[in-house]
């Protein structure tokens, strides 16, 4: 070869350039309920979503939603802040950098890293959030979401982003709320169309029934008839579903929904802890059913087979264990470790006991227990990691069986 270095250079360059070019355009994936519909119905939903929310690279700021999209300031230094909607765009950019690889483009918890993680990253699209200061199924407040970003969630792969600073975190929070609202609108529309009978499987069945009477009828005809009904009122349907979502999110800011103790916390002395322990083991509260008599998260409920949500005919999962609202196996918290996922302040534990954890089998005891009792339980729970041999005696346990004496950690 006359010029070996030249050929080598050409080979090297072509290999290097082969990777260049535009990456594929990011898309919001359809959720499972939408994907189960017949394609023209999916089309309807996709169009409604693109019109009101846009695509990841072309966001639409729907004014109906309670989100501060950012007003353009012509005097701003940064060029992009001079246009309206800059907050949503900045939020999206930050989300793409920091959150996308776990939480996915649409906030569906299906990013490329997600399959390596246990517990899985949150799927925001149902508007269900576990850790918040509001009651029951109410949405979280802006502060709740900020807190998660600042503290991370100990015991999971959700890290703390406190170093990004409050302003950037605020942008991410608003983008996440926007993703959640988008997901909820999609879910509501998909449920609506499924109820009309536009699921692919349902449509097949309807067509077969109709064929018994009229041999010439086609699947398309059956489908188009149902679609025509839907299309005539489609804009109103979309607006109605959106309004529901907006109302849900606005309720989060209602101070009545904030869970705040009405009594000061009782001092964490031996009596309080003993009372808390009795409440924990009692038959009425059944804490030990899930969390176990010694608080290790190994109660008898963890060996039951949970029913599959929405399955008809009703049937159970193949694997034993409690399930969360997303269908994943969820372990009751091991209280001996001292790891508390949404904060270790007495206030945080009070909230967990009072309102439960949305989206999980953890119930709220706010209606059945008084505040003093909840504080006793909180004091007991906070003391569990520091006690040696916390296995209770036989007569204390609701089932009556004594447990082997073990060290606390």
């Amino acid at each position: 070869m006359r010029f070996p270095s030249l050929s080598l250079a050409v080979c090297g360059l072509s290999l290097a350039l082969a990777g260049c070019g535009q990456p594929p355009e990011p898309k919001f994936a359809l959720n499972a309920k939408t994907a189960a519909l017949t394609p023209p119905a999916q089309q309807l939903i996709t169009e409604a979503l693109v019109e009101n929310f846009g695509t990841p690279n072309n966001l639409v700021a729907w004014q109906e939603l309670p989100i501060d999209y950012g007003k353009g300031n012509p005097a701003a230094d940064a060029e992009h802040r001079q246009h309206d909607g800059w907050r949503l765009k900045d939020g999206r950019d930050l989300y793409m950098v920091h959150c996308l690889h776990c939480h996915g483009v649409a906030g569906d918890g299906n990013g490329s890293t997600a399959r390596f993680l246990n517990p899985r990253p949150r799927d925001y699209r149902q508007g269900k959030f576990k850790f918040k200061s509001t009651a029951g199924g109410t949405r979280p407040t802006h502060d709740d979401l900020m807190r998660i970003l600042e503290e991370g969630i100990p015991g999971t792969y959700m890290p703390s982003f406190v170093l990004l600073g409050k302003e950037q975190l605020g942008l991410i929070v608003d983008y996440v709320r926007w993703l959640s609202m988008r997901g909820e609108v999609e879910e509501a529309l998909a449920i609506e169309l499924a109820q009309v009978g536009l699921k692919s499987s349902d449509l097949e069945r309807t067509w077969r029934e109709k064929k018994a009477e009229d041999k010439a009828i086609t699947l398309d005809a059956v489908r188009d008839e149902l679609l025509a009904e839907v299309k005539s009122a489609w804009t109103e349907t979309v607006a109605e579903k959106a309004k529901d979502v907006v109302d849900f999110w606005n309720e989060a800011n209602n101070p009545e929904n904030l869970v705040v103790p009405q009594e000061k916390r009782t001092a964490s002395d031996a009596e309080s802890i003993a009372r808390g322990r009795a409440l924990y083991l009692s038959k009425e509260n059944k804490c030990s059913d899930c969390h176990g008599p010694a608080g290790r998260g190994d109660g008898p409920q963890t060996e039951q087979f949970a029913a599959i949500d929405g399955a008809s005919p009703a049937r159970n999962y193949d694997e034993p264990g409690l399930r969360d609202a997303w269908g994943n196996v969820i372990m009751p918290r091991n209280l001996t470790r001292g790891v508390y996922r949404f904060g270790r302040r007495p206030l945080d534990l009070y909230r967990r006991v009072h309102q439960g954890i949305n989206g999980t089998p953890m119930p709220g005891f706010g209606k059945t227990l008084k505040d003093e009792q909840i504080w006793d339980i909180v004091n007991y729970v906070l003391s569990i990691p520091y006690q040696e041999g916390t296995a209770p005696a036989a007569e204390d346990v609701a089932g009556g069986e004594a447990l082997p004496e073990t060290a606390s950690r």
């Binding site: 890293t113 390596f116 503290e151 991370g152 100990p154 792969y157 890290p159 703390s160 406190v162 170093l163 705040v260 103790p261 009405q262 009594e263 000061k264 916390r265 001292g338 270790r344 302040r345 007495p346 206030l347 009070y350 909230r351 504080w375 906070l382 003391s383 990691p385 520091y386 950690r409």
Partner: protein
């Protein structure tokens, strides 16, 4: 043409050393001036080694260049065979060995100051600032309650925070480094401090931040898919500010959310 290449390679080597020397002054090399006394000593050691090896490197390349120039192949001329010189072999074994021995002994003090527990500031060692547990992919920090001494096992009144390590500036402090899962490494680039966090061990690490400001804390041992973003921050503060910070942390950690009902 060959002679041109001789000059080129000799000059390139010399230029390289010049850039290595002026690099830190231009901010191309070290992350800023060392912000701790021991860090400054480490940088001084680095420059000493750079000087010694730089001189050797330039010298060798000049000689190499000269030999290539003077004794390059000439068509028609036969090369001369030489048996080698025993004296030369001895000289250029003893002299570099001597230089290396010098460097090894010269740096012992800095190494001891950094690694030997008996050389740590004993006050700081008896009252560690915090236990820092590296975890995929964050730094979890446990301070003792103000006025108490850090215990090996968590205490009910310990204070917890994540990623943002506060410390008093201007004096040596000790942290106990642990890992919850895999190997990580506690790296403060500005202070020239680096210590692997080994699962199963509790390793005392000391550092002394000169000024009250924020320093980077990064993970320096590949620990998984999030290693690249396992960043934290060391916030060095005056003693008064640090005490106030701990007090505030204690208050917020004991927050029970109860507010006296305002007059309605």
């Amino acid at each position: 043409m060959n002679r041109l290449w001789c000059v080129f390679f000799s000059v390139a080597a010399i230029l390289a050393v010049v850039f290595f020397y002026i690099g830190p002054a231009m901010g191309w090399w070290f992350p800023g001036v060392a912000a701790s006394p021991l860090g400054q000593q480490i940088d001084d050691l680095f420059y000493l080694i750079l000087a010694i090896t730089g001189v050797t490197f330039i010298g060798v390349h000049l000689v190499l260049g000269y030999i290539l120039w003077r004794f390059g192949a000439v068509p028609g001329k036969k090369s001369m065979y030489q048996h080698g010189s025993h004296t030369l072999e001895v000289v250029w074994s003893i002299v570099p060995a001597g230089i290396l021995l010098f460097i090894a002994l010269y740096q012992m003090d800095v190494w001891a100051a950094y690694r030997m527990k008996s050389r740590f500031d004993q006050d700081a060692l008896a009252n560690p600032l915090a236990e820092v547990t590296a975890r995929q992919f964050e730094w979890r920090i446990r301070y003792p309650a103000p006025g108490k001494v850090l215990q090996e096992t968590p205490q009910p009144d310990d204070l917890y925070t994540v990623n943002d390590l506060h410390a008093p500036a201007g004096k040596p402090v000790v942290i106990k480094l642990r890992s919850e899962d895999v190997l990580h490494s506690f790296f403060l680039p500005h202070l020239r401090v680096k210590q692997d966090a080994v699962p199963g061990l509790v390793i005392p690490v000391w550092f002394h931040a000169n000024e009250p400001r924020e320093y980077d804390l990064v993970c320096a041992e590949l620990c998984g898919w999030g290693h690249y973003k396992m960043r934290g921050q060391l916030t060095a503060q005056s003693q008064g500010d640090f005490d106030a910070y701990l007090k505030k942390l204690q208050q917020s950690q004991n927050e029970d959310g109860y507010r006296e009902a305002a007059a309605e």
